[in-house]
Structure formats: structure tokens, C-alpha cells
């Protein structure tokens, strides 16, 4: 073979696609940023950001979103880590069934999920298979809706969280770790909380950040369940303001960027994709 064909040509088309891709990525962000800086006539400034961040409702709704994200992450970890661990160690025959369940959220979009949740939980809670009431509908009081929305968010994050945890456990060989810990006299609680959890912390962090990215801007579950989080707030703000929503949109983007950037860093480029918006 001739030398000339061995030497790589300048990859012209690759550059064309890449630059087109970069433009598609960057232009909307640039446009939003540029727009958010022009709140005052003939001046570039951060007025829109000042105004947006000065709003009390922004902090209360945003804080509430972060609170819900934290609850979702904590309860997900408490539920999924022992389950994945147990399946690896004691119950491999349940693996296919559980993996199938963790994929179901891909089939049930958020709008359907919230529809079903409202249908089920807007009637009074009864003892199963009877009409004897146990309490009022979950959608009628604050704690009830919080339980529903955290449960719903756990469903949305389930595929990512489960996969992260399961992959993490595959790489650290939980069986050997467990046997070593038990031979040193550790009980189940100590094994899970002090041996397994610290060993899968990168997997947990990446699952948690992905869940965070899903929950913080989420609008479907929140608005239909009537929970005042950041998503519905931003939507309403967009109905009667122009510049502040742009400022918050750009901020949201930076947050998503931070979450994904950290995932990339800690997992060494093995980032995951989420989807279904």
C-alpha cells in the first residue's frame, strides 16, 4: 500500500458535522444569555439576574425543589441499595424481574404516571379489598402530596439509580467484601452501611446527581399534584415576564452542566443518558 493512502487526510466532513453540532448546542444558550443581559435599554448588565434572585418566591420554590430532590435521593438509596445487594447475594433468581420493573418507567411517561397517581390516590385510602376508610385522600393534604411526588420522582429516577448501583456493585465484588466483613464479625447492617455503601460511593453519587438533574426542573408531576416547586414557578414567570425567566433558564443550564460535569469527572467519562422529558 502506498504511503499516501496511509496518511490520514484532513477530516473535512468530520469537522463540518462537529461544528454544526457545536452551533446547535451553543446558539440557544448564547441567545438566552445575551437576552438575559439586555433587561435595561441600551445596556449590558445583570439586572435580570438581580431581579430574579431577589424574588422571595424563587428561593422558596427552588429550595423546595432541592428538598424534594434530596428526599428522593435518600429514599431511593435506602430502597435500592439493599435490594440490589440482596439480589446479587441471595436472590439471583429475582434479578430479571427486578430489572424488568426498573425499566417500566421508560414505558410510562411522567404525564401518564401522574394521571394514574391522581386516579388512585385522590380517593380515600381504604383497607385493601374493602370499603373501610383508613384516611383521607393523599392528594388532599401536604404530607400526602409530598409522599406522592417523592414516590413519583423515585419512579422517574429508578432506571438510572438502579443501573448505577448495580454497576457499582458489579465492579467491587460484593460477595467477597461481605464474606470478609462477616468473618470479622460484622452484622448485616454494618456490612451494608459501612462496607458496601462506601465502596459504591461513585456509583451512588452519579445516580444521585442524575436524579437531582431530573427533579430540580421537573414540572409535570409538580404542577398536576399542585406542589409549588421551581418548575411550575419558572413556567408561570414566563407567562408574564421576559428577562427574568431567561436569566433563570441560563442558571438552570449551568446547574445541569455542573451535575453532569461532576458525573463525568467521577466516573471517568462513563456518563449516562437520561431521557423522556
Amino acid at each position: 500500500m502506498k504511503l499516501a493512502t496511509r496518511v490520514r487526510k484532513f477530516p473535512f466532513w468530520s469537522w463540518v458535522w462537529f461544528i454544526l453540532g457545536v452551533l446547535y448546542f451553543v446558539l440557544p444558550l448564547l441567545a438566552t444569555f445575551e437576552f438575559s443581559l439586555t433587561m435595561e435599554r441600551d445596556m449590558i448588565g445583570f439586572k435580570a439576574y438581580q431581579k430574579a434572585f431577589a424574588d422571595k418566591d424563587f428561593w422558596s420554590t427552588f429550595g423546595y425543589s432541592i428538598f424534594l430532590a434530596a428526599m428522593t435521593i435518600i429514599v431511593s438509596i435506602i430502597l435500592i441499595v439493599p435490594t440490589a445487594y440482596w439480589i446479587r447475594l441471595r436472590l439471583p433468581e429475582a434479578r430479571r424481574l427486578v430489572e424488568f420493573i426498573t425499566l417500566l418507567p421508560f414505558v410510562i411517561p411522567a404525564i401518564i404516571l401522574v394521571f394514574g397517581l391522581i386516579r388512585v390516590y385522590s380517593s380515600p385510602v381504604t383497607i385493601p379489598f374493602t370499603e373501610i376508610p383508613l384516611g383521607q385522600p393523599l392528594t388532599n393534604f401536604k404530607f400526602g402530596t409530598n409522599v406522592l411526588i417523592v414516590g413519583g420522582y423515585m419512579v422517574l429516577g429508578l432506571p438510572y439509580m438502579y443501573r448505577s448501583v448495580d454497576t457499582g456493585m458489579r465492579t467491587v465484588d460484593v460477595r467477597t467484601l461481605t464474606e470478609a466483613a462477616q468473618s470479622l464479625g460484622a452484622n448485616w447492617y454494618v456490612v451494608v452501611a459501612r462496607v458496601i455503601l462506601p465502596n459504591i460511593r461513585t456509583a451512588l453519587l452519579s445516580g444521585a446527581l442524575l436524579t437531582f438533574a431530573i427533579v430540580v426542573g421537573e414540572v409535570v408531576l409538580a404542577s398536576f399534584l399542585g406542589v409549588n416547586t421551581f418548575g411550575p414557578y419558572l413556567f408561570l414567570l414566563g407567562q408574564h415576564r421576559a428577562y427574568e425567566p431567561a436569566a433563570l433558564t441560563f442558571t438552570t443550564f449551568l446547574l445541569t452542566w455542573a451535575a453532569m460535569g461532576i458525573i463525568q469527572l467521577i466516573t471517568g467519562g462513563q456518563g449516562q443518558a437520561s431521557g423522556a422529558h
Binding site: 500500500m1 477530516p11 466532513w13 468530520s14 458535522w17 462537529f18 453540532g21 446547535y24 448546542f25 446558539l27 440557544p28 444558550l29 441567545a31 438566552t32 445575551e34 437576552f35 430502597l79 440482596w86 441471595r90 420493573i101 417500566l104 421508560f106 414505558v107 410510562i108 411517561p109 411522567a110 404525564i111 401518564i112 394521571f115 391522581i118 414516590g151 423515585m154 419512579v155 461481605t178 442524575l210 426542573g217 414540572v219 409535570v220 398536576f224 419558572l234 413556567f235 414566563g238 431567561a246 433563570l248 433558564t249 438552570t252 443550564f253 445541569t256 452542566w257 451535575a259 453532569m260 460535569g261 463525568q264 456518563g271 449516562q272 443518558a273 437520561s274 431521557g275 423522556a276 422529558h277
Partner: protein, 296 residues
């Protein structure tokens, strides 16, 4: 007496096997409360009439009422168009950073950015596109003042099928990049060398070797994109305010207030969506199985 200090490796008896299932009860309880009960309720509802009796009426109405059928069609069209467009563009991008000869540093930048963009959706995405391609958007104005092209005079409208598709593309093609980059890595150098030694040119190599190997994973990824767009609600609602009646928006209206005056018809609409999503997921996993034969 003998119960105190048993070693970890206990003998496995059938009874302890059954006891093992106790460990997964909390997970199944969660799945029943937040996944199964809501879906079963919608499922049963879609086969029930207002008197509470079993019926196929709701399903028949899905196809006989024009505006429901059209909503499904519109959703399917927009999902198919963005899956195909996002799929092709995403594939070309993934190609350019893997086997396309671009520097490796660009690859990790692209993958990171794709991770961000595929998660950047809903209300913020809609606002970003209004600032970009809206009537006074950045790109609209630049095209008008610098290039003298007025896209709105030419018939473009962000709040239309095309506008929504362009917006969806922002999370569609990055997802394709994320799925296809590892698949393209699976193309072995030896295959190309073997093909060249046997006298194949680049076009022959791609048409006869690389693309047939990649085809299942490309199709599978595009099905994934289809489902991704099909279930989207917030982006469309925030952008068009419900003027483009895709199926998720119709279901949303039904949840807010019984606009159809038949709650069970709403259930049937939801089940129809789940049905289409389930078919696409099944297609995806079937194609995944085909892919793993070659790309490992």
C-alpha cells in the same frame, strides 16, 4: 443453644430460599404502590363504561373520534421526524469523534455536552428556543440583519410542527451521540484492514461491513429517541401553550379537568400511549440483543 454463633455459610434449605424473598419486599411494595396500582387503575378504567361495566367502547372511540386519532398521529409524526433527524445527525457527530479522525479531546467534550443537553429539557428548553428562534430571537434577528433573510416572512414559525421539532432535536441528537459513541468504538480496526486487503474501498467498507453491523444499534437508538419524544409533555406545553395538540397535551387537559366528559376515555388515551411506548421498548431490547452479537 446452637443458634448463637452460626458461620455465614449456612446450608441452603428450601425454607431459607423462600425467606430470601423477604429482603426484596420493600422494593416490590414500592413498585406496587407507585407503578402497578396507577397503571392497573388506568388499564381497568379504559375497559369500563360510566356505569362501571366492562366495555370496549373507549378503545373504539380512540379510533373513531377524529381529534384523538389526529393527536396520536401528530405525536407519532413529530417523534418519528425528530428520531430520524436526531438519529442521523447524532450518528454523524458520533462518527466524527470516534472513527472520523477528530482529536480525542473533542470527543470527551462532545460526550459531556451531550450528557448535559440530553438532560436539558422542559420549560427551560422552551424558553431558550424562544430566545433563539422566536420572532425577536437571536438567530432570527441575526439572519435578518446580517444576511437579510427573514425566516418569519418565509413562513417559519417556532410554535409550529417544525419549530417544536427543532426544539426536540436539542435533546434528541445528544442522546443518539451518547448511545452511538460506544457502538462505533466496537468497530474493530482489523475489519477495515481485512476489507482493504481484499480490495474494498471506503464506500464498500461502509455499505457492506460497517453499516450492516451498526444497523441494529442505530435502529434501536432511534426507537429510543422515538419514545423519548413521544412521552414529552413539558417542552411542548411551555413552547406552544397547548396550541399543538399532541397526545400528551390532550391527556394533560383531561387530567386538569374532564374535557372529554368521559373519564374512562381519558384512561384509554393513556393506555394507548403506554401501549405504543411498550412496543418501542420491546423493539429496542430485541435490537439490542442483535447488536451484542458483534459489538462487544
Amino acid at each position: 443453644m446452637t443458634q448463637t454463633a452460626l458461620p455465614a455459610s449456612r446450608m441452603r434449605t428450601p425454607r431459607s430460599k423462600l425467606r430470601n424473598w423477604i429482603g426484596v419486599i420493600p422494593f416490590f411494595l414500592f413498585a406496587i404502590l407507585f407503578i402497578f396500582l396507577p397503571s392497573v387503575r388506568l388499564f381497568i378504567g379504559s375497559f369500563t363504561n360510566e356505569a362501571g361495566q366492562f366495555t370496549f367502547e373507549n378503545l373504539v372511540e380512540l379510533f373513531s373520534q377524529d381529534y384523538i386519532r389526529n393527536s396520536y398521529l401528530l405525536s407519532i409524526q413529530i417523534s418519528a421526524v425528530t428520531a430520524l433527524g436526531g438519529g442521523i445527525f447524532g450518528f454523524l457527530l458520533a462518527y466524527s469523534v470516534t472513527v472520523g479522525g477528530l482529536p480525542n479531546s473533542l470527543r470527551s467534550a462532545l460526550v459531556t455536552f451531550s450528557g448535559v443537553a440530553s438532560n436539558f429539557a422542559g420549560v427551560p428548553l422552551a424558553f431558550a428556543f424562544v430566545a433563539t428562534l422566536g420572532r425577536t430571537g437571536f438567530v432570527t434577528v441575526v439572519l435578518k440583519e446580517v444576511f437579510g433573510v427573514s425566516i418569519y416572512d418565509a413562513g417559519f414559525n417556532l410554535y409550529s410542527f417544525l419549530g417544536l421539532s427543532l426544539t426536540y432535536m436539542y435533546f434528541q441528537f445528544p442522546l443518539m451521540v451518547l448511545v452511538m459513541t460506544p457502538a462505533l468504538d466496537g468497530l474493530k480496526k482489523e475489519w477495515r484492514e481485512a476489507a482493504e486487503n481484499l480490495g474494498a474501498n471506503t464506500v464498500q467498507y461502509w455499505l457492506r461491513i460497517a453499516l450492516p453491523i451498526l444497523l441494529p444499534s442505530m435502529l434501536g437508538a432511534m426507537i429510543l429517541l422515538f419514545g423519548n419524544a413521544f412521552g414529552a409533555y413539558a417542552t411542548a406545553y411551555a413552547l406552544t401553550g397547548g396550541r399543538l395538540p399532541i397526545i400528551t397535551i390532550q391527556i394533560g387537559a383531561q387530567v386538569r379537568g374532564d374535557v372529554l366528559h368521559n373519564p374512562n376515555l381519558g384512561n384509554a388515551m393513556a393506555m394507548g400511549m403506554v401501549f405504543i411506548m411498550a412496543i418501542s421498548l420491546a423493539g429496542y431490547s430485541w435490537l439490542q440483543g442483535k447488536t451484542e452479537r458483534w459489538l462487544r
